[in-house]
């Protein structure tokens, strides 16, 4: 039972449970008188038109895609960084080569205009 993850296995559910208790307390102690008008989106002001889950501009999606590419590749760099102190110089340079490939990908996205907010 000396697994270090035991603490995390306790802390995360507790971290989820405590705010849940607080919200529950709010639900129990607060008044609760729902009606149709109160339940409308925004409750006051103009009524919204159409469905909320509309199609939005594709730029957000492109940024999310670039993020996924970079994040996955950044994860590959962590083992390299951990092994760093036992490496020869040429191994470090290979890691730098990998970084250059990443930078080339970024440059490609940049030149293609994927990083412009239009």
């Amino acid at each position: 039972m000396h697994d270090p993850w035991v603490f995390v296995a306790f802390l995360l559910p507790i971290g989820l449970l405590l705010p849940a208790v607080a919200v529950l307390m709010g639900i129990i102690l607060g008044p609760r008188k729902p009606n149709a008008i109160k339940g409308t989106t925004y409750e006051c002001g103009m009524e919204t038109v159409g469905d909320t889950w509309v199609q939005l501009r594709a730029s957000y999606y492109i940024f999310a895609l670039i993020f996924v590419i970079f994040d996955v590749e950044a994860v590959f760099l962590f083992p390299w960084a951990v092994a760093y102190s036992q490496m020869q110089l040429y191994m470090v340079l290979e890691g730098v080569l990998f970084l250059l490939i990443l930078a080339a990908g970024l440059l490609y996205a940049w030149r293609k205009g994927a990083l412009e907010w239009v």
């Binding site: 607080a22 909320t52 250059l100």
Partner: protein, 397 residues
């Protein structure tokens, strides 16, 4: 007074085993209690963090801040809490129910979860994971997920816009943050946060990698989603963004998450770059280490609040340009240069810290020059535009 934390732990273990409990079960119970105490202390610390931050913001903006309830207004948050409990949680129609209720809880959970690996004092910590840095990133991403879930599930277009901005901002700024986490990992040769603190015994990493520390600080403030990067909320643009349909304590949880995250940013920064609990005499007296840790954390937190109180909100195109065209390439450069220079210094027998510092100064000068050049081009283009507009205006007249 040598090691109070170890003493308490041993006393507790003796007590439980004395009651006839197996030592492994006692250890598990100890972990459970530790986790509970940590989560509760963090949530209760919020009462004072929020009031302190509001006081500071008030002073930065030349006003008093909360000063009515209790001496110097320190019970303001408790009054707010009581008020929020008594409010009706209005649930809008047409929401995505499970996501709507889960989102605020996930935000708080991610912040509390981050503290699991932070070493508070020598021998006093939640746990020591061998993948601590990756754990920090992944647990932090749960908070981002919570914000996106909140905006998506609220059935409100402003909330939806907030969620999309969260995709563009919170997710993007994770890239430089993750890349900058590579630098302490590289310099210490371990992903464990305790190992990173240990490796800073001769010199703090901020001395060896000041640029990395700066990029990390900027991107973690952006991750936190507060001014000048508060586009996910942007109350003057999209009302309150992702949390607009939340009320009562469900909103309060986002509030708590935001303020606690700011403090956590300080804690993580001081752990990764400022040596955590390290300081004179901290090894002999763990309590002193705890004091140093919180001193550094509060200092960094103060700086982030200062930034919040001083800068106006950036536009979304500026925000994305700053991340993708400046911080990310810079982060790649820093990782590459740090790796090569450090290895060269070790092989050639130079002083590692001096070599790294020199490399950082050279990089900073290069970046400064490039920015100055870029700024000049932008200004010239703007002036040409303005001159062209003036010409066409006079022609029309």
């Amino acid at each position: 007074m040598g090691d109070p934390f170890g003493l308490i732990g041993r006393w507790f273990m003796d007590l439980l085993t004395g009651w006839g409990m197996e030592s492994s079960a006692a250890l598990t119970l100890l972990r459970f209690l530790g986790a509970g105490v940590m989560a509760i202390v963090l949530l209760f610390a919020c009462f004072f963090l929020i009031v302190a931050e509001r006081k500071m913001l008030g002073r930065f903006q030349d006003r008093y801040g909360p000063n009515r309830i209790g001496p110097f207004g320190i019970f303001q948050t408790i009054a707010d809490f009581v008020k929020l409990i008594g409010k009706e949680i209005v649930v809008p129609a047409g929401i995505d129910k499970p996501l709507y209720w889960l989102a605020p809880l996930l935000v708080v959970m991610s912040i509390i979860g981050m503290w699991a690996v932070v070493p508070l004092a020598p021998g006093f910590r939640g746990t020591d994971l061998n993948v601590g840095v990756l754990y920090l990133v992944s647990v932090g991403a749960i908070g981002t997920l919570g914000i996106i879930m909140a905006g998506w599930s609220s059935n409100n277009k402003f909330a939806m816009l907030g969620a999309f901005r969260a995709v563009a901002q919170l997710v993007s700024y994770e890239i430089p943050m993750v890349l900058m986490l590579l630098v302490p990992t590289m310099l210490s040769g371990t992903m464990g946060v305790v190992g990173i603190v240990e490796a800073q015994s001769e010199m703090w990493f901020i001395v060896a990698a000041p640029l990395a520390a700066l990029v990390y600080l900027i991107s973690s403030i952006a991750e936190n989603g507060r001014a000048p990067f508060d586009l996910t909320e942007g109350e003057s643009e999209i009302v309150a963004g992702f949390n607009v349909e939340y009320g009562g304590l469900a909103f309060g949880m986002f509030y708590v998450g935001d303020f606690l995250h700011a403090f956590t940013v300080g804690a993580l920064f001081s752990t990764l770059f400022l040596g955590g609990w390290r300081g004179p005499g901290a090894e002999q007296y763990p309590l002193l280490g705890l004091f140093y840790f919180f001193l550094k954390t509060i200092a960094v937190w103060f700086v982030t609040v200062w930034i919040r109180g001083s800068f106006p909100r950036v536009r979304i195109d500026q925000l994305l340009a700053l991340n993708w065209k400046f911080l990310t390439p810079l982060a790649l450069l820093i990782v590459a240069v740090t790796a090569v220079v450090n290895k060269l210094a070790v092989e050639q027998g130079w002083s590692r810290i001096l070599a790294l510092l020199a490399a950082n100064v050279v990089m900073a000068a290069g970046v400064w020059g490039a920015l100055a050049l870029h700024g000049r081009t932008v200004r010239r283009r703007e002036e040409e535009l303005r001159a062209g507009a003036a010409v066409s205006a006079s022609a029309a007249r």
